[in-house]
């Protein structure tokens, strides 16, 4: 699960001389929130987000109405973009969780993906959320069970073997520390072709483990 497989290749991009009016229209029409700005050879020059297009009211306060019109129409993407040296980027080969860590850490919504200095794609929070959906197999029907188990080696294996013993298949599986309880671990599995009651019955037999949530989705 690397960035290169989940990014959007060939993103829509702008040239630095594009006016902000056009950039705004371009982003609106195509329903995108991030617009990498590139020069010759797709070299990254900057990034325009919806935020960059907001006009600073303080700046406009001192201008009269005619000046505002002129000021706005003269603005180009180059004037408002986040400059390349301030744009956080990733290489194609990093894992998607690493991309997520960077985005969470910097509190940003997108990362242009570079290959040898050239923009090859873009990965956004939506790409990562879509991947989360896939990880949880949301496109397939099944029984989704969350089991709270002690935070120690071998617990997940116990649970998986209980499922395997019934001959069921696991569509998706994930785990995270239980909220507000460092001694526990929440494992979530999605099981295909199994009745809810039987799933509950099978998992209840596992020692030290507790079903905290079960639903057919």
């Amino acid at each position: 699960m690397l960035v290169k497989d989940y990014m959007t290749r060939h993103p829509l991009m702008a040239e630095p001389t594009m006016s902000i009016v056009e950039a705004q229209r371009y982003m609106g029409e195509n329903d995108i929130r991030h617009l990498p700005v590139v020069g010759d050879g797709k070299r990254l020059l900057g990034l325009v987000t919806r935020q960059s297009l907001l006009v600073d009211p303080g700046r406009l306060g001192s201008l009269d109405i005619w000046e505002i019109a002129g000021y706005l129409s003269d603005l180009t993407v180059k004037d408002v973009m986040v400059k390349a040296d301030a744009v956080v980027t990733v290489e194609q080969g990093v894992t998607i969780e690493e991309a997520a860590r960077i985005m969470v850490g910097k509190k940003i919504g997108c990362l242009p993906v570079l290959g040898e200095g050239i923009v090859v794609g873009i990965i956004t929070e939506i790409d990562l959320l879509a991947q989360l959906m896939k990880l949880m197999a949301t496109q397939e029907a099944g029984v989704r069970v969350t089991v709270r188990q002690p935070n120690r080696t071998g617990e997940l294996a116990k649970m998986v073997s209980a499922i395997a013993a019934q001959g069921w298949g696991i569509l998706a599986c994930g785990g995270a520390p239980a909220p507000k309880d460092p001694t526990k671990w929440d494992a979530v599995v999605k099981i295909r072709n199994a009745p809810r009651e039987e799933v509950v019955a099978a998992l209840e037999t596992v020692e030290d483990q507790e079903i905290v949530d079960v639903r057919e989705v």
Binding site: T8, R9, H10, G41, I126, A130, T138
Partner: protein, 707 residues
């Protein structure tokens, strides 16, 4: 948010929905002295991200003009007069060159038909390739080289580092096309336009290049606009297809739909005029589309296809149909699309073939041409400066076969296998190096200049390219009349009448008598070429790729004509072609040639079913078939045809044979040293292979129909 809505969320659909390319009502005209020529009108289509979209149509229908419009290569006199071309949501129409360059930059790449024209012959391939990176991107020379080598590896170029040092003429056509594709991909374009990229290549090479394109499209997520006249090729690489006719898009849908249920009468006509693999002349008939594509200067007022359409009604003459959506994602430009798709098409009465008559005339035993151990070598200069032994290109090396009277022998094989040389030797244009050539009991190994007139008259030839074989400054009548006068077929005062009779036989009327070749279409020229060849009523007509330069609808008409002539005057034919469906349709006996020798020769139906020679099997597996219900085995030959200057020892095919290691006990070492034996199956079907006939018989058929 309701639960229902959640379920309809498609996770692969969260990305950018803007199509890579969106063409809206595009119209392109060329300015000429006599006014504007509207070459393209009302063309609309879109290509989504990572999608391959085919554009199919006959020559002159505006396919390439659309492509040139997109990349702004229309030339000085071409311009976009209406419509929009949106590339990734940005309109390309009405921008200055500089703006265009910035928007499009290196995000659109194009691959042309002839790779030699796209490569600079005076620069090493490595320099040309690295230039793409060093000029646009300031990449260091060394780094650029590395990247180019990687890309060449990606397109399966053998020995890429070495190829970088060579000049374009030092690699084969298939490899040149790979270099061009690699160059196009160096900039990782969002859209790749390919204009007939495989048309100039052999079927086996074409198959490999098509596989490559499909693979690259998947890996690089590149949208492809694929232009071709061959529906089979389109079906192999693309999912959607637009059919163009006379500058308009007449139908647009998924490849499968177009093939199974074409709505537009032109598309239906196209399907009927192409022989499918497995069709033969005794059980089926090709239905050519009558008439020809209207000139863009002289378009009909109503539907552009109306003059050639079997379903045309008053409304079609008066009102121009719009491209409309008939079913979901199926567009057609026809007033009566729904109706005609239901009606089963009946061929017009004058076209109904007399298949029974064809059936009857077999059981001829008289052999008209007998060739034993034919050899034609070309002397190549020695590589040493002084002395050294002369080398020989063994173009035809030890070929034996016979042709029976009234039959058609088809010869197939990749380019450079000696098909044309063999035919030229028979007709006397090349001097044979050895072997016996007996035609109707007479020795014909002498060159044409030493043959007597009677013999020349009996052996005639139809050439591939009618443009270069008709004298541009003589009228059609004079050219057809010349053999009549030379051979004194008819008395001098009846020459004109005879020429007119021949023209009528070719379905050309008397008005063609005084025309010059430039006033004829390609198909008409080829008919004149055929008329000239049969004027002297020869016994044997040698056809060297007579239909490969023609459009499919014209090709059908010419093939039918040849069949009729053969029926009428009982001529024997040798027919060279590279299209295996055409050969299968047209010929009684087929010989498959490889490097100057026959790999397999036998009755047509026997060649297309097991036992196969491994080479025939590979050829059949490479033929692009547009029928989605047909399944084809995937066999690809590696490498190129070895040089005939120094052919491999033993079996000439052993260097590329995919079968020998798996089907022969000792891994096929015998193939490298010993010449393969001739194995005879039923009906004079001969296969030259070390693999025993029983094992060859066990092979699965290459083409199977799954219903």
């Amino acid at each position: 948010m309701s639960a229902d809505l959640e379920w309809t969320t498609d996770m692969d659909d969260h990305g950018i929905k803007t199509p890579i390319l969106q063409v809206d009502d595009l119209a392109i005209s060329y300015e000429t002295r006599t006014g504007d020529v509207p070459a393209v009108r009302d063309v609309s289509f879109e290509i989504q991200r990572g999608e391959a979209h085919g554009i199919v149509g006959e020559s002159g229908c505006g396919k390439s003009t659309v492509a040139f419009g997109i990349v702004n290569f229309l030339g000085r006199n071409g311009r976009i007069v209406d419509g929009h071309i949106l590339f990734q949501g940005q309109d390309l129409v009405g921008r200055s060159q500089e703006e265009l360059r910035r928007i499009r930059g290196d995000r659109i790449a194009m691959v042309y038909q002839d790779p030699m024209q796209a490569l600079n012959p005076s620069m090493r391939l490595g320099d040309q390739m690295t230039e793409v990176l060093t000029v646009h991107r300031d990449v260091e020379q060394k780094k650029a080289e590395e990247k180019c080598i990687q890309m060449l590896e990606r397109v399966y170029m053998p020995d890429p580092a070495n190829v970088m040092r060579r000049y374009p003429h030092q690699i084969s056509g298939g490899q040149q096309q790979r270099v061009v594709i690699a160059m196009a991909l160096l900039n990782d374009p969002a859209l790749l336009i390919m204009d007939e990229p495989t048309t100039a290549l052999d079927v086996t090479v074409e198959a490999a290049v098509l596989d490559l394109i499909a693979e690259l499209q998947r890996d690089f997520d590149t949208a492809i606009m694929y232009i071709s006249h061959n529906l089979g090729v389109i079906a192999r690489v693309s999912t959607k297809v637009g059919v163009m006719y006379a500058g308009e898009l007449v139908e647009r849908a998924s490849v499968k739909d177009v093939y199974l249920k074409p709505y537009h009468p032109y598309t239906q006509g196209l399907m009927r005029c192409v022989p499918r693999l497995g069709m033969d002349k005794t059980s089926s008939y090709l239905y050519p589309i009558p008439g020809r594509v209207p000139s863009p200067k002289n378009l009909p007022a109503g539907c552009v296809y109306e003059p050639r359409c079997d379903y045309a009604r008053e409304e079609c003459r008066l009102k121009k149909p719009e491209l409309r959506e008939i079913e979901a994602d199926r567009w057609a430009r026809c007033h009566f699309a729904e109706e005609i798709a239901q009606v089963s098409w009946e061929p017009p009465a004058d076209l109904v073939p007399d298949l029974a008559a064809l059936e009857e005339r077999d059981e001829v035993t008289e052999t008209i041409l007998e060739i034993t151990n034919a050899k034609t070598y070309y002397e190549a200069p020695s590589k040493q400066l002084i002395g050294g032994e002369a080398q020989y290109v063994k173009a035809v090396d030890d070929v034996s076969f016979g042709v029976k009277k009234g039959q058609t022998l088809g010869i197939v094989g990749e380019s450079g296998c000696g098909k044309s040389t063999l035919v030229k030797t028979i007709i006397g244009m090349e001097e044979p190096t050895g072997g016996e050539f007996e035609f109707m009991g007479v020795d014909v190994s002498s060159p044409v200049s030493q043959r007597d007139l009677a013999l020349i008259q009996e052996l005639q030839m139809v050439f591939q390219n009618p443009d270069s074989t008709l004298n541009p400054s003589f009228t059609v009548g004079t050219q057809i009349g010349r053999p009549l006068r030379r051979f004194k077929t008819v008395p001098g005062d009846q020459v004109r009448a005879e020429v007119v009779r021949l023209l009528e036989m070719m379905r050309l009327n008397e008005s063609y008598y005084n025309r010059l070749p430039r006033q004829l279409s390609g198909g008409e020229k080829q008919r004149v070429g055929i008329a000239r060849a049969i004027a002297g009523r020869p016994e044997l007509v040698l056809c060297d790729e007579p239909v490969s330069a023609l459009d499919v609808s014209v090709q059908a008409a010419v093939l039918n004509l040849l069949l009729e002539i053969q029926e009428e005057i009982g001529t024997t034919m040798i027919f060279i072609a590279h299209d295996l469906s055409v050969v299968r349709f047209f010929c009684d006996v087929i010989g498959v040639m490889y490097l100057g020798q026959f790999a397999e020769i036998g009755p047509a139906e026997a060649i297309y079913a097991p036992p196969y020679h491994p080479y025939t099997e590979a050829l059949l597996s490479a033929v692009p078939i547009p029928d989605p219900s047909v399944e084809q085995k995937h066999i690809r030959l590696s490498g190129n045809v070895p040089s005939a200057l120094n052919p491999p020892g033993g079996c000439r095919f052993h260097t590329r044979c995919p079968r020998r290691t798996e089907m022969l006990s000792d891994g096929g070492t015998i193939c490298e040293t010993e010449v393969p034996p001739e194995r005879t199956a039923e009906d004079g079907h001969r296969i030259f292979c070390h693999i025993p006939l029983e094992d060859l018989r066990q092979m699965e058929p290459v083409v199977t129909t799954t219903e």
